[in-house]
């Protein structure tokens, strides 16, 4: 059984011009020890999807559908139940590690308080666990680091400390929202290695959110691509990146700097821009930018098309029919 099973998740947010659905009918799962990647341009609903799992939607935000965690429905949890879930069962790290760290308190105070709050352990035991955690996330000289403030560390080290905080209560699922977006590639690589290691050593399940397909390629087992709040395609990482089938995924992959024609300086690009919340186009939301759109795409929300047991798209048009025929069931 999967650790996390989300079905028909819809997130409604209050905007200046009324309610709007930022996440629409999203279904996905994360297995034990699996790393799922969620990709999509900004505004596609990635963060709202993550926040709905922790009961942290913005003011007036509502989630409907079903979120089963470890066999239990959690979408209907009370505030208190969510507080228990956060930290103990599902932990989250953010693009800016300072979101979960206090700049003026020592690392020791923050880590041990967190541990003592959730685990009711003695001060000494908490300190030892804190030291172990810092070693786990490969902070050099953990004992000295305990005495320092987060502001005394570089961005990459702060993200490691935020990961240590997230791991403190041994969550089963770690949600990492753009964890390396603000970091240099040289530092990013270290964080990717660490997340990979945590999965291997602890059988930790991870949901990584990013717009960077390179990051997902090195880290994930499966990828889900989102557009305007909905899934457009998902599949095993190698399959999805090497054999993308949705026109949007195709476009994103073609636009990667490494994939444009070698002899041209021009990059391939998807014309237009992602739509804004409240203005999602009807039917297939991508139809306004899609080279393959048919008249019906404007009217009909695409149904799921299973290409294999682990690769699906939400697109009725078969722009790559030779591939589609061989791949579909």
């Amino acid at each position: 059984m999967n650790l996390l099973t989300v079905e028909n998740l819809t997130v409604t947010l209050a905007t200046g011009s009324g309610d709007a659905q930022a996440v629409r009918n999203l279904s996905f799962s994360v297995g034990h020890g699996e790393i799922l990647g969620v990709a999509g341009e900004s505004g596609s609903g990635k963060t709202m999807t993550a926040l709905s799992m922790l009961g942290l939607l913005p003011y007036k935000g509502k989630a409907s559908g079903s979120i089963k965690f470890d066999g239990r429905e959690i979408l209907t949890s009370t505030k208190r139940e969510y507080r228990d879930i956060r930290g103990k069962e599902i932990a989250m790290i953010f693009q800016d590690p300072m979101t979960s760290l206090h700049p003026m308190l020592t690392v020791e105070v923050q880590l041990t308080e967190h541990l003592r709050h959730h685990r009711k352990v003695s001060k000494d035991a908490a300190r030892n666990s804190a030291l172990e955690l810092l070693a786990t996330v490969k902070i050099p000289e953990p004992a000295a680091a305990l005495k320092a403030h987060p502001s005394q560390f570089s961005g990459g080290m702060r993200q490691r400390i935020a990961i240590a905080m997230a791991l403190a209560c041994e969550p089963k699922l770690l949600i990492a929202d753009e964890p390396t977006t603000a970091l240099d590639v040289t530092v990013q690589a270290g964080i990717l290695k660490l997340l990979h290691q945590l999965r291997t050593d602890r059988n930790l399940s991870v949901m990584v959110i990013t717009h960077d397909l390179g990051v997902l390629s090195s880290l994930t087992d499966r990828i889900m691509i989102m557009y305007a709040g909905s899934e457009v395609e998902s599949g095993a990482t190698s399959d999805l990146l090497q054999n993308p089938r949705h026109p949007y995924t195709k476009g994103l992959i073609a636009a990667l700097p490494g994939n444009s024609e070698v002899n041209s300086k021009n990059l391939l690009s998807i014309d237009g821009m992602p739509p804004e919340l409240g203005n999602f186009p009807s039917g297939c939301a991508f139809h306004t930018r899609c080279k393959f759109a048919k008249a019906s795409c404007k009217e009909t929300v695409p149904e799921v098309l299973n290409l294999s047991s682990d690769h699906r798209i939400f697109c009725p048009v078969n722009p790559f029919s030779e591939l589609s025929n061989s791949g579909s069931k």
Partner: protein
């Protein structure tokens, strides 16, 4: 190929609570017309500082910057000397560099009016420029907040173009944009450089984009250029360990489980740079002498410049492999 910009031994210092921070520590560079020179390096290595010095926002403490035959002087409040209006800068955050309360058209027309054009003509020219960067002509009457990030970056590019620049310093112009806008704006810049035969310094921390659109690449580490060469030389056969480390850290979006290599350690504080080769504390190939002798830039047989003891002036580059 005409040389449009020449930097000799340029150093720039900041004053941080009374202590000097040498953010750019002696840079030699040239830029030719019709060329894109990529400038890469980890954050904090001095790219923006160098860019600002080139256009005269900051003044170097040593060295000189010559643009199209004339020495660049620090900008003063008054009117920008005619000559240097042909040297423009585009910033990462287009919102920060546009005035939120003024209509787009006037912001583009400003430079033209200062140069003596009538307001009516300047506004017409602004419409032309907006069209040139792929925006509707009627955008002149709208305000910055009515546009997306990618569109605002096009607007600031249009504003730079108003001065008919012969060189543009673009500081992370696509870093804040979404995937689809990134490719669109990068293509726009490439095509403009081509069309107007401008020179462009394209500053970015993203070597994978730089490699696509540049002709030459300069790699910066802690205030110094450590390697400069053609894209092919830098990307396919880097000769400095730092360049190699930067390339090895880039993930491959190819669906293989390739794990990029990290480069342990942080960029040192420019307030107290390491002795010898500035890269030696993080360099996996450092020799004993690297801690004390600072390697000068040397020209290799293939024409590139590099500062590393592993390379010998006048010889072919030795292949650098890290582990």
């Amino acid at each position: 190929m005409k040389e449009i910009l020449n930097l000799k031994n340029v150093a720039v210092e900041y004053d941080r609570h009374g202590r000097k921070v040498r953010a750019v520590a002696g840079v030699d560079l040239t830029l030719n017309s019709g060329e894109i020179l990529g400038l890469v390096g980890e954050s904090g290595c001095g790219k923006s500082t160098l860019g600002k010095a080139i256009v005269g926002i900051l003044s170097p403490i040593t060295g000189e910057i010559v643009f199209d035959g004339q020495k660049v002087k620090k900008l003063t409040r008054g009117k920008r000397p005619e000559h240097f209006r042909n040297l423009q800068m585009v910033f990462q955050d287009p919102y920060g560099s546009l005035n939120p309360r003024r209509k787009i058209g006037m912001q583009i027309a400003d430079g033209l009016i200062v140069a003596g054009m009538s307001k009516k003509l300047a506004l017409l020219k602004a419409e032309d420029l907006l069209e040139k960067v792929g925006l509707p002509r009627n955008a002149v009457g709208r305000f910055p907040h009515q546009f997306s990030g990618g569109q605002r970056q096009r607007i600031s590019i249009a504003r730079a173009l108003a001065a008919s620049p012969t060189a543009i310093i673009a500081d992370e112009p696509i870093s804040a944009l979404d995937t689809s806008s990134q490719a669109q704006v990068a293509n726009l810049l490439v095509n403009l450089v081509d069309e107007f035969d401008m020179g462009m310094v394209f500053i970015s921390h993203d070597l994978s984009i730089v490699r696509r659109i540049s002709d030459r690449v300069a790699v910066m580490y802690l205030g110094k250029i450590v390697e400069v060469g053609t894209v092919d030389q830098i990307w396919n056969n880097p000769s400095h360990p730092y360049t190699r480390a930067l390339i090895s850290a880039i993930p491959h979006a190819d669906g293989t489980s390739f794990m990029p290599k990290d480069l342990p350690g942080d960029v040192p504080n420019p307030m107290s740079p390491p002795s010898g080769c500035r890269f030696h504390p993080r360099c996996p190939l450092a020799k004993a002498e690297c801690a004390s002798n600072e390697p000068e830039l040397r020209k290799l047989a293939d024409g590139r410049d590099v500062s590393c003891v592993l390379q010998t002036a006048g010889s072919q580059p030795v292949t650098i492999t890290l582990n």
